[in-house]
């Protein structure tokens, strides 16, 4: 049982209040989605949760323990993993090596054993390869394991990041627009994958623009706009919330106006 709680998170960049008084809880076994227009502060929120940014105010709690301001690798040690909106792939490494890097915390770490190629190090490597291979298969990349990651398509790289996060066996996984730029079939597959990760017991936090996907797989939705939480609840309640309709209608309205003028 893992839960992540944010209490009153706030951060500014220069004069810009990127997040202001954001609170919510995400529980294991559930998909908690964060939605909102571009620039709403969703990725910034991920960067605060994963320790890349320090919030100006507020707290991040994992199972009630205050972990605010801990370093990213320490948070990973606490069972956190993520994917990145702007891909962070190890491009010169093979797809398999990318995912094997995700086994870091499960490996016996002894650099001398590694240099001398001791049996303990080889065994560790084999186990990581098996786990990574399984994760690649799960995301449908079993066939490209030995290709350099730099050769893969955008959709494949998105899934490679998911496999890498999966193979950490984290209990809290954050996905930042995992289906962005993917076609309908790929989106659907990612969709199912994320549901299955949550039903395996992880707490999943998802940022996603595809509303159909969000509505279908989320247990809980948080709506951000200009750094503030404007609504929260089940897909049903969020869909009907007047603030959400307004924020989204605002965006769509503007878009339509733009299209009409062009």
């Amino acid at each position: 049982m893992t839960s992540l709680t944010l209490e009153n998170i706030g951060i500014s960049f220069g004069g810009l209040r990127a997040l202001d008084g954001v609170s919510f809880t995400a529980n294991s076994g559930e998909v908690t989605s964060i939605i909102g227009p571009n620039g709403a502060g969703k990725t910034t929120l991920f960067n605060i949760i994963t320790g890349i940014y320090q919030p100006d105010i507020g707290k991040v709690l994992i199972d009630g323990t205050d972990v605010t301001g801990e370093a990213p690798h320490d948070l990973a040690r606490r069972g956190m993993a993520r994917t990145f909106q702007n891909l962070q792939i190890f491009e010169q490494m093979s797809a398999l090596d990318n995912v094997m890097a995700g086994r870091h915390l499960h490996e016996r770490r002894n650099v001398l054993a590694d240099m001398f190629g001791l049996p303990s190090s080889r065994k560790c490597n084999r186990e990581s390869a098996i786990a990574a291979q399984a994760a690649l298969k799960r995301v449908g990349l079993g066939g490209v394991a030995n290709r350099p990651a730099g050769d893969l398509s955008y959709g494949q790289l998105k899934r490679l990041e998911i496999a890498r996060a999966l193979t950490t066996e984290a209990s809290l996984i954050l996905f930042d627009e995992p289906a962005a730029g993917c076609n309908a079939v790929e989106s659907r597959e990612i969709d199912d994958l994320i549901s299955s990760i949550a039903s395996d017991g992880a707490a999943v936090i998802l940022i996603e623009h595809d509303m159909r996907m969000v509505m279908r797989i989320s247990s809980h939705i948080i709506v951000l706009d200009h750094g503030r939480k404007i609504a929260e609840g089940t897909p049903e309640t969020v869909r009907k919330s007047p603030q959400v309709v307004e924020a989204y209608l605002g965006v769509h309205g503007a878009k339509e106006a733009g299209a009409a003028l062009a």
């Binding site: 990145f84 090596d97 890097a101 002894n110 590694d114 490597n125």
Partner: protein, 315 residues
């Protein structure tokens, strides 16, 4: 074939066959210098190629090894053992200075390492009571022919040195190749490509960089000890800035991403000045020009370019 076995076989074969091209004993001496530089450069491949850090002060670690071997026998430590003591010393110094400076990025790190190299050079030049000062000092010689004579082989000193250094290089390259394909090496390569992603997987970026820095310092130190024993003389020039640049240029020319590059870079830039006197006269200028040309024409260095040529030929 595993990359480690392949590296072992290729490098061993090259080093075994190379003497067929040596017209005289003098060439064994050049061979020894090439091998000692290969060892330094292999360490730099770990630092620059694996984890992606630049050091312009590695001659400092080289000098720590060289002077450990020069100074310590007077204090009762057998010359062979000084290699180990120097390596441990270099590792400790690397750990100590690495902690604060590896947090720096790009050219700040380069300048900090440069400062370290200068500091070592200064200490070696000033503390004459211990180091002989700018004139350097004589190193107690060891009998490198002994192990060969034990096997009933009669051998010249320079040739014995060649084989000893060849064994050291093969070991050094096998260790570095093992590392590349191991959990620790994978963490280093991950840090190289995206420290944000690496950290998100639980990899301690600072620690991983420090580990690579220490390993590369140990390689340089062992190379320094070997040179001291081989030359039977050391001077503060071992720590000279230009020596650091030399190590870096060899690494970049050969290609920092593979251990083969270490041998190629060291081979070319060690033997050229020995064979072409013109090159020797303008050595520093040549190193600069080679560095620029490599960066402009083949960022990855020679080794990958050669590998590409071979794989194209196969197709």
């Amino acid at each position: 074939m595993s990359p480690v076995l392949r590296a072992f076989l290729i490098i061993s074969a090259l080093l075994l066959l190379a003497p067929l091209l040596f017209p005289s004993v003098y060439y064994y001496r050049i061979g020894v210098l090439v091998l000692i530089n290969t060892l330094s450069v292999t360490g730099m491949v770990v630092l620059l190629g694996y984890v992606g850090l630049v050091s312009l002060g590695h001659a400092g670690f080289f000098a720590i090894g060289a002077y450990a071997t020069a100074v310590l026998p007077a204090y009762g430590i057998p010359p062979i053992l000084t290699i180990l003591v120097g390596a441990i010393g270099a590792a400790l110094v690397a750990a100590f200075i690495g902690k604060p400076i590896l947090r720096l990025k790009g050219h700040y790190l380069a300048i900090a390492t440069l400062g370290f190299g200068m500091l070592v050079w200064m200490v070696l030049s000033k503390e004459a009571w211990l180091t002989g000062g700018p004139d350097g000092m004589v190193v107690e010689s060891i009998d490198v022919k002994a192990p060969f004579e034990l096997l009933g082989i009669k051998i010249k000193t320079a040739i014995a040195w060649y084989w000893i250094c060849a064994v050291a290089v093969v070991i050094g390259i096998v260790l570095a190749t093992n590392l590349a394909n191991s959990p620790a090496g994978r963490a280093m390569r991950a840090v190289h490509e995206s420290d944000v992603a690496a950290a998100s997987l639980g990899i301690d970026v600072a620690r991983t960089k420090l580990t690579a820095f220490i390993i590369s310092a140990v390689y340089a130190s062992v190379a320094g000890s070997l040179l001291a024993l081989f030359n039977r003389y050391v001077t503060p020039d071992t720590a000279d800035f230009l020596h650091s640049i030399e190590i870096m240029t060899m690494t970049v020319l050969g290609g920092a991403s593979s251990v083969y590059g270490a041998l190629i870079g060291a081979l070319i830039l060690t033997s050229l000045p020995q064979m072409l006197t013109v090159f020797a006269e303008y050595e520093n200028m040549m190193f600069g020009a080679i560095m620029i040309l490599t960066m402009v024409l083949m960022r990855q260095g020679l080794a990958p370019a050669i590998a590409q040529l071979f794989s194209r030929g196969r197709k």
